[in-house]
Symmetry: C2
Subunit: 238 residues, 2 copies
């Protein structure tokens, strides 16, 4: 799937996702052209995604017009519709990119040993930190969760939607699996895994609502918030 540009010098994303439905992709996946002064490796699409994420976060899906995104880009509709077949496809791609970053961050800390409880804590911390560092993308993800209907009229869009929901289910399963591992090794006493996981993820996801980066906020500040949130969810307040 994805923008099949093969020129991904950028260490970022691309291609990693399972190839699924093709919806609203660039028509001809040849190499992107660069103007004379362009910095090599810059993915043009990431600019569109960034601006779209920002707009969607601030004004919601329906509240954002393609012209809004284009204005923020310093461009016009033509540019956006050159890469995305529809507004819905653009939204989906932001959502998918957000989920990709979340998955990446959480999976990265899952193999660090430790019992179920400690692994769960590390996963929550990674989740939280990723939220704080990608607040626009993840705010879009949060929005999209209960927008299962949006305007998914076409078949292709519905397939993309199914794909996204599957990713979300798998993501939640990462946590509930580790939770049960903690129950098995005795490090977790709580019983109802489903409710507990939904609660913990809610506490972390809620940062999409209240958190806005302050000026001069350092990485250490974000890490502190993430660590506290994760610790409280595992250990409680008492």
């Amino acid at each position: 799937m994805a923008r099949s540009d093969h020129e991904a010098e950028g260490q970022r994303d691309l291609g990693a996702d399972a190839a699924v439905v093709e919806a609203g992709r660039p028509r001809r996946p040849t190499r992107s052209r660069r103007k004379a002064g362009d910095v090599a490796g810059a993915d043009n699409n990431i600019d569109i995604l960034d601006c779209a994420a920002q707009c969607f976060m601030e004004m919601g899906f329906q509240g954002t017009s393609i012209d809004d995104v284009a204005r923020r880009l310093g461009a016009t509709k033509g540019r956006i519709y050159h890469y995305y077949a529809s507004k819905t496809d653009l939204f989906f791609d932001v959502h998918r990119e957000g989920m990709r970053r979340l998955n990446e961050a959480v999976i990265a800390v899952m193999g660090s040993g430790g019992n179920g409880r400690e692994t769960l804590r590390a996963m929550l911390e990674a989740h939280a930190l990723t939220m704080l560092q990608n607040i626009a993308y993840l705010a879009v993800v949060v929005q999209g969760v209960h927008m299962h209907r949006l305007g998914a009229t076409t078949l292709a869009q519905r397939q993309v939607l199914d794909e996204i929901m599957a990713i979300r289910r798998d993501f939640e399963k990462l946590f509930s699996d580790v939770f049960r591992r903690g129950q098995a090794d005795g490090s977790i006493r709580a019983e109802n895994a489903s409710i507990a996981v939904k609660g913990m993820l809610g506490a972390v996801n809620w940062t999409a609502i209240w958190y806005r980066p302050r000026a001069n906020e350092t990485l250490a500040d974000k890490q502190k918030i993430a660590r506290e949130l994760a610790a409280l969810q595992v250990g409680g307040v008492a």
Copy 2:
């Protein structure tokens, strides 16, 4: 504005699917005509609020058209615009009603004695239960939180928005005050009250995203979920 706030009794239905639709011809329901001596503004248009809440929950603010709400009502725009000056005002009133029910439920359990931690737990449980019982209204509240811009163009709308945000601030303060009381009486060890409260409220508020009442769900079922959520937020999983 031009709205009064005392719509009396709180225990309406639980946001279950509005069976108001009743496909038929322009029906003439019991037209409650105002009798002499009635206070102007004591409107019983709770049906409008219910349908609006349901629509806003399912399709979002921008995604919901006034005609959508009217259709669900089994009426036309005329009826809605007879009571509300604009779509934004309607949204605000749903939001305000949701916050009113939340406040009522939480304050009701605050005087039951007990140390800070136990009071906090009871407040969280009451909060959660109210969410589950009024999921449509509270889903709108959750939506509205980060929609500070919406389309608040008029001065009156901005004032209502300020009022709502003040209510939200006061609501959060209820929790952080009790949290600090718990720190003082030794029943709460966690340090950062701000982060902790935001996390706990997030866990509870997140029910607006995932929770949808199943068929035949009893009050006891909801109470069980609420109790578990509250207990986990206070005591953790370990």
